[in-house]
């Protein structure tokens, strides 16, 4: 090829990337300087896509080539250990889909919705910087590290690279984050279904639908996933359509109208039963439905935003950056970075990246596309959730995300309270939105899911059906979220159960037998009680529960990310690539700063809305003088609230101790690695080479 042609091509590429830089930053500038009038959501979409492209092209390539020196000729576990089942070399697009479906869940949808209370800008900036420098880096590094070590799991990797004790610490950390994750997700479902006969009916209808699919897929037409999913989907749509009749019927509606407490107990019982039933009956078929529905809904939301070009009604930065917002308490630093976990950086992904995906990588160079690329896509899902929350009138958003303790229980009190914050809204508007979506009230529907559902209904009804279809789209969105959260709850309860059996089994070997009913039921009961306890505590919380549980979950998730990135840092030192260790050290340090600050503030902050101990002191002091504070109705309940606060504070303290001890072990591993001239990490290639093949 003539040199002049190459030069021309290079300068053309340079010009192209220059243009993408310019457009992205102009879009960000437009978003940041908007004052007073609504900004079109396409600016946000443009800025996000441009920045993802730049991050992928330059930063992930730097990591792939300079830091990790990916080598396409290196044999991956999929080839070395090919068994046609778990270890299979897989097409990179197919594997991308698998990996994305495993990392995308309710997290990237809920966090940004809550964060929208501070305006769309703080959330956007953290989502974009977080994913480029932390989230995608973590997913990519862990994927490569695991791929080079036979697809071992995160806990195993920490054990082999850092030592036995850090490995056990990581396992305890993973189990505790699972428990909090399940509690907070269950709470999201409870908040979305409470007093909503339409929503409850459609979600209940998924049980017989899934069982029918299960029987169909096992006995009638074995293995026909496509057929059974289409049947299931049609039945689901029918149940949403029929849900309106249920909600409007005087006899049926009361049968499906539940209070939060009742729903919580139903979910706990359901979680127990669903996770001990044979998987083909309920769990697997619902997994098919929820996975395909999730992908389909994400695609339709993207399509909706591209077709409708909605305006963002939320201001760029709201007054609640000062930490007094109703959706969650605490100022931008550190709480924004805790609230938006998935979408920017999520420790949970480290489990997926060291799970099934590394066993199917056909060629090491594809880890960049799959690890880094899929996380960029997840971040875009979070951006869309932020858009869906921001297209609502701010008054409506705050009415949905404030607890009754703050805005009262009627449209009149809510409109008065919210208008006094500077977000003008009338009682008629609030009642009108409720009527549009087919609910009695939209007040205090905290938890993110209903807000997202109204936002999605707002966008999608402009594409199909007009305002008459708002209520259908709203309940479609609620069902979609509830469905995959329920699937996560049964699958997660099973995972927690196996972890508990494994853990107890190290002391009592008989407990490990997963076929025996005794240990099986006992471990399931422990898992369900664990998340059920936090769920119930959240349901009766006067501030809505999400206020307490979401930060705990965020802290746990980000601490897991900190552990995973610490592992990556250690591995880079042991590979003798310390020159480049900064790619892991920068996000690790940031996560330590955020989670330590947030963890300590959650325990010790003097504001009872933020600090658990301050809250406990407030209730204990009142109880001592015989005074009752809402929601407690008896002194007994007052004492239980104090006790719960201490449990939450204790949990936070445990997280802090766990993650700090991992840091201590990391320093000693790094010291050892630096003391040694040679590479000290062991990648499986050199272990297996002598065996030939």
């Amino acid at each position: 090829m003539p040199a002049s042609f190459l030069r021309e091509k290079t300068s053309l590429a340079a010009f192209g990337w220059g243009a993408i830089f310019a457009i992205s930053f102009f879009a960000l500038y437009t978003l940041a300087t908007a004052r007073g009038e609504p900004v079109n959501a396409m600016w946000l979409v443009t800025a996000a896509i441009g920045i993802y492209a730049i991050g992928y092209r330059f930063y992930s390539r730097f990591i792939a080539d300079a830091v990790l020196r990916l080598d396409a000729s290196r044999r991956t576990p999929a080839h070395r250990r090919n068994d046609g089942l778990d270890y299979v070399p897989t097409d990179k697009w197919v594997l991308f889909g698998h990996h994305f479906a495993a990392i995308a869940g309710a997290g990237p949808l809920v966090g940004p919705v809550l964060a929208a209370q501070m305006g769309y800008l703080p959330g956007t900036l953290w989502l974009l910087t977080g994913v480029i420098f932390a989230g995608a880096v973590q997913d990519f590094l862990v994927l490569v590290i695991s791929t080079r070590r036979d697809g071992r799991s995160l806990g195993d990797l920490i054990k082999t690279e850092m030592g036995h004790i850090p490995g056990v610490i990581a396992m305890v950390g993973i189990l505790s984050i699972m428990i909090i994750l399940l509690a907070v997700l269950a709470l999201v479902v409870v908040k979305a279904l409470a007093d909503s006969p339409w929503g409850s009916f459609t979600v209940f209808a998924t049980l017989p639908i899934a069982v029918f699919m299960g029987v169909y897929g096992r006995y009638i037409r074995p293995g026909r996933i496509g057929e059974m999913s289409i049947i299931g989907f049609v039945l689901l749509l029918a149940s949403i359509a029929f849900g309106r009749n249920v909600a409007e019927s005087a006899t049926l509606a009361p049968l499906f109208t539940y209070k939060g407490e009742t729903l919580a107990f139903m979910l706990i019982g359901y979680g127990f039963v669903a996770s001990v039933l044979p998987v083909w009956l309920l769990l697997a078929p619902r997994d098919y439905l929820s996975t395909f529905l999730k992908i389909g809904t994400i695609l339709s939301l993207a399509l909706g935003i591209f077709v409708v070009w909605p305006d963002l009604k939320m201001p760029a930065v709201s007054r609640f950056v000062d930490g007094t917002g109703p959706a969650f308490a605490g100022s931008v630093f550190p709480f924004l970075f805790i609230t938006i976990a998935c979408g920017a950086v999520s420790g949970f992904h480290a489990l997926v990246s060291s799970g099934t995906t590394p066993k199917m990588i056909a060629d090491e160079s594809q880890t960049r596309f799959i690890g880094y690329g899929a996380m960029l896509m997840e971040s875009f899902v979070a951006i869309m959730a932020l858009i869906a929350a921001s297209v609502l009138e701010p008054g409506v958003y705050f009415a949905m995300n404030s607890a009754p303790a703050i805005i009262g229980a009627t449209p009149e009190t809510a409109a008065a309270a919210i208008s006094s914050w500077g977000f003008a809204v009338t009682p008629e508007t609030l009642a009108g939105v409720a009527q549009d979506v087919g609910e009695k009230s939209i007040l205090s529907r905290t938890g993110g899911a209903p807000t997202l559902a109204v936002g999605m209904a707002h966008i999608l009804s402009k594409v199909i059906g007009g305002s008459a279809a708002m209520s259908f789209w709203y309940h479609f969105a609620i069902l979609f979220e509830a469905l995959f959260i329920l699937t996560t709850i049964d699958a997660g309860t099973r995972v927690a159960r196996f972890m508990i059996q494994d853990f107890v089994g190290t002391f009592v070997p008989a407990f490990r037998n997963t076929q025996a009913w005794g240990p099986n039921l006992a471990a399931t009961a422990v898992a369900v009680t664990g998340w059920g306890y936090f769920l119930y505590q959240g349901v009766i919380d006067p501030l809505g529960g999400i206020n307490t549980l979401w930060p705990l979950f965020g802290i746990a998730n980000q601490m897991l990310a900190a552990m995973a990135l610490t592992l990556c840092t250690v591995v880079l030192f042991r590979m003798k690539r310390e020159r480049y260790a900064f790619v892991a050290i920068i996000p690790t340090a940031w996560l330590y700063i955020c989670t330590m600050t947030a963890g300590l503030e959650k325990i010790f902050h003097s504001d009872p809305k933020i600090g658990f101990l301050a809250h406990a002191r407030k209730f204990a002091a009142a109880a001592d003088t015989g005074q009752l504070l809402a929601p407690a109705k008896t002194l007994d309940q007052m004492h239980r609230i104090v006790f719960n606060d201490h449990v939450d504070a204790g949990l936070c303290a445990i997280y802090i101790v766990l993650v700090l001890s991992i840091l201590g072990f990391a320093f000693s591993s790094i010291r050892q690695a630096r003391a040694c001239e040679a590479v000290t990490t062991r990648e499986s290639e050199d272990e297996l080479l002598p065996a030939g093949a």
């Binding site: 090919n82 197919v94 869940g105 083909w280 697997a284 996560t488 995972v495």
Partner: protein, 72 residues
């Protein structure tokens, strides 16, 4: 099948979408499994398509259960 756009093979695209959708729910490629068994484990029994489906389903949520891990 590349009728409309040069380089666009619709049949291949459809099969990739299908494989992708199946792998999302933990169902790997049966043909690849059979090819692998024929190539390296001559003589050992090969699961039928239905058995393969049930095996994959059980293993996704079964012991260890980690295969069904999904994010928040």
């Amino acid at each position: 099948m590349s009728c409309c756009l040069p380089g666009l093979d619709l049949a291949k695209l459809a099969s990739k979408l299908r494989d992708g959708a199946r792998l999302m729910v933990g169902q790997g490629d049966y043909d690849a499994y059979v090819a692998h068994m024929r190539a390296t484990h001559l003589g050992s029994p090969i699961m039928t398509r239905e058995e393969f489906f049930l095996e994959r389903q059980a293993s996704r949520f079964g012991e260890g259960g980690r295969r069904a891990l999904r994010c928040c």
